[in-house]
Amino acid sequence: MTTPTPTTRGSATALRRVVLYATLVALALIFLMPLVWMVITSLKTYTAAQQIPPSWLPNPLAGYGYEQILNNAANPVLRWFLNSMLAATLHSLLVLVTASMAAYALARMRFRGRGVSFALIVGTLFIPPTSLIIPNFLIVDQLNWIDTLAVVVVPGAASAFGVFFLRQFFLSLPNELEEAATLDGANQWQIFFRVVLPLSKPALATLAVLSFLTNWNDFLWPIFVLFSPEKLTLPPGLGLLQGSYVTDYPVIMAGAVLASLPVLILFVLAQRHIIQGVSRSGLKG
C-alpha cells in the first residue's frame, strides 16, 4: 500500500472500467426496458396481460394484439400507417425542395430584400409554433384542407428550421467549385442542381430524416384537423385506439409497436445523420 505498483494501478483502472460499464448498462436498461415491455405486452393474450402481477414473458405467445389491429373496421390501423408514411414522405420532400432553394438564394445570391427576408424567416424561429395553431386552423379551414392529406403535409413545411439549417451548410461549402462551374458557362440553376446539391447530400439527408421524424410523430396538430377514421395518421389514430380498447393493452401496445417500428428502423439506419443534425442545431445557438 506504499507506492502504487503497476499491478495495483492496473487493477484500479480495471475496477473503474467495471464501474463505468455497470453504470452504462444500468442506464441502458432504464432507457430500453419500457420499449421491451411494449413489445412483450403486444405479444400477450388479453387474459395474460390482465394478470396481477403481470408475467415477464408472453406465455402463450399470441398474435392477438396484431390480429385485432389488422382486422378492425372501426380502427383501420394499417390505413393510418399508410397515411402516416405518405404524409411524412411528402412532407419531407416538400421541405427538401423549398428549403434548399430558398437557403441557396439566401446563402449565395445578392438581391434586393435579402436581408429583410432572412430576418423575417429567422425571427419566426423565436415564435412558439403552438401559439399559431388557432389562426393556422382558420387558414386551413378556409383552404378546405380540414380532414385531407394536405393539412398534415404542407403547413409544417413553413418552419424556418430547414432554411436556416441548409443556409449554414451552404455557407460552409467552399466557393471554388461553383466558380469553376460559372467559368464553364453554367447558370445558377445548373450550378445549384449539378454542383451544390450533390455536394450537400449529407446535409440534405439529415434534414430529410429529421423532417420525416417530426411529421411522423406530430400529434397536437393532426388530432384537431383530421376527423374521419380513414383519414387519420398514426398518432391521432393511437388515441382513438386507446379510446376503444381502454385497458386491452396487447392491442394498444401492438399499435404502439407499429407506430414505433419505422422510426426505430430509420434511427438505426440513419443514426449518424440524426445525431449530427441534433448536435449541429445546438452549436448554432
Partner: protein, 321 residues
C-alpha cells in the same frame, strides 16, 4: 453574409481559366434578375401563408368575438384580454389553473432536463468500446412520438397492471402508488416520463459542446494539479457556456409547450390540475369554438415565454464569473 460572395468573386480572378469568361465573375453564376426570387418563391409562399399570415390573423382574431359556428364575429377590442385578467370572468379560473400547471411542470422538469443529460454526456465523453452504441440507446426514446410514449407510459404507470408498481413491489417498496391519478404522483410521473423521453436529445447537444473544448485545456489543468471537480468547474463548465444557454432556453420553451404527456398520461387528472396552457388554448379555440379568446391566450402566452427567454438569456449570458 454579403462578404462571402465578394470574397469568392475576388478569388475567382486567380485561376488562369478566368480568361474564358471575361467580366462574368461578378456574382457566382450568370443570373437573370428574377433568379433569386424564383429560388425563394416556393418557400416564401409557404412561409407567407403558414408562417406570417397566422401571426397577423392571430392578432386580428384576438380582438374579435370569433365563434366558428356563428355568422357574426363582432369586434370586441381588448375584451378577450381583459377577461384573462379579471377574476370575475368565466375563463379566469381555468386559464390561470393551466398557467399554474405549465409553470409547475416547467420548474420541476427543466433542472432535471439540464442536469441529467449533462451527466449522460460526461459519461459518454470518454473513449471506451461501445460508446456509439450506448449513445444510440440513450437517444432512442426521443425518436418515438408523444403518442407512442404517452400510451406506453399510461400503461407502465397503471396502478394495478403497470410495470412500474410491479418492479417497486419486487424490491419491497409500496406497489400501489396511483401514479397518474393523484397528486403529487401525477407531476412526478409527467416529469419522470419527460426526462426519460428527451434526456438523450439534450445529451447529444452537450456531447457536441464537450468535444469542442480543447483537450489541451484539460491537460494544462491536470499539470497544475487540478482535481476532477476543479477541472469540471473551471474548464468544462466555462467551455460549455454557449451550449448550456442553448439547452436551457430550448428546454424551458419545450417544457412550457408541453401538451401530449398530460393529455395522454394523466389526462389532466386529478380533475384538470395537470391541464397545460397549450391544451387549454386548443380546447378553448377548437373544441369550444372560441377562437378569439384562444387567440388572445396564445398571444399572452407567447409574451410570457418571450419574457422568460429574455430573462434566461440575461441570466446566463452576461453573468461574469
Amino acid at each position: 453574409m454579403a462578404d462571402v460572395i465578394e470574397v469568392g468573386a475576388a478569388r475567382g480572378d486567380a485561376p488562369p481559366s478566368a480568361a474564358k469568361a471575361p467580366r462574368r465573375g461578378a456574382s457566382a453564376g450568370r443570373t437573370g434578375r428574377a433568379t433569386p426570387y424564383l429560388f425563394l418563391a416556393p418557400y416564401l409562399i409557404l412561409f407567407g401563408v403558414f408562417g406570417l399570415l397566422p401571426i397577423i390573423l392571430g392578432v386580428w382574431l384576438s380582438v374579435h368575438q370569433w365563434d366558428f359556428q356563428l355568422p357574426n364575429r363582432p369586434f370586441v377590442g381588448l375584451d378577450n384580454y381583459k377577461e384573462l385578467f379579471s377574476s370575475d370572468s368565466a375563463v379566469y379560473g381555468d386559464w390561470w389553473e393551466s398557467v399554474r400547471a405549465t409553470a409547475i411542470f416547467t420548474v420541476l422538469s427543466v433542472p432535471l432536463l439540464v442536469v441529467v443529460p449533462l451527466g449522460l454526456a460526461l459519461l459518454l465523453n470518454r473513449s471506451f468500446p461501445g460508446r456509439t452504441f450506448f449513445r444510440a440507446i440513450y437517444f432512442a426514446p426521443y425518436v418515438l412520438g408523444v403518442a407512442v410514449i404517452g400510451l406506453l407510459w399510461r400503461f407502465l404507470l397503471d396502478a394495478n397492471l403497470g410495470l412500474v408498481n410491479r418492479l417497486l413491489g419486487v424490491v419491497g417498496l409500496p406497489s400501489d402508488t396511483p401514479w397518474v391519478t393523484n397528486m403529487p404522483w401525477a407531476w412526478i410521473s409527467l416529469v419522470g416520463v419527460t426526462v426519460w423521453w428527451t434526456s438523450g436529445f439534450n445529451a447529444v447537444i452537450y456531447l457536441a459542446g464537450l468535444q469542442d473544448i480543447s483537450p489541451e485545456l484539460y491537460e494544462a489543468a491536470r499539470m497544475d494539479g487540478a482535481s476532477a471537480w476543479q477541472r469540471f468547474r473551471n474548464v468544462t463548465l466555462p467551455g460549455l457556456r454557449p451550449v448550456l444557454l442553448f439547452v436551457i432556453t430550448t428546454t424551458v420553451l419545450a417544457s412550457a409547450n408541453m401538451f401530449g404527456q398530460s393529455f395522454l398520461i394523466t389526462q389532466g387528472a386529478p380533475g384538470t390540475e395537470t391541464r397545460t396552457v397549450v391544451w387549454f388554448i386548443v380546447e378553448e379555440g377548437l373544441r369550444d369554438n372560441d377562437a378569439g379568446r384562444a387567440a388572445a391566450m396564445s398571444i399572452v402566452f407567447a409574451l410570457m415565454l418571450a419574457v422568460v427567454s429574455i430573462a434566461n438569456f440575461r441570466l446566463f449570458r452576461y453573468r461574469e464569473d
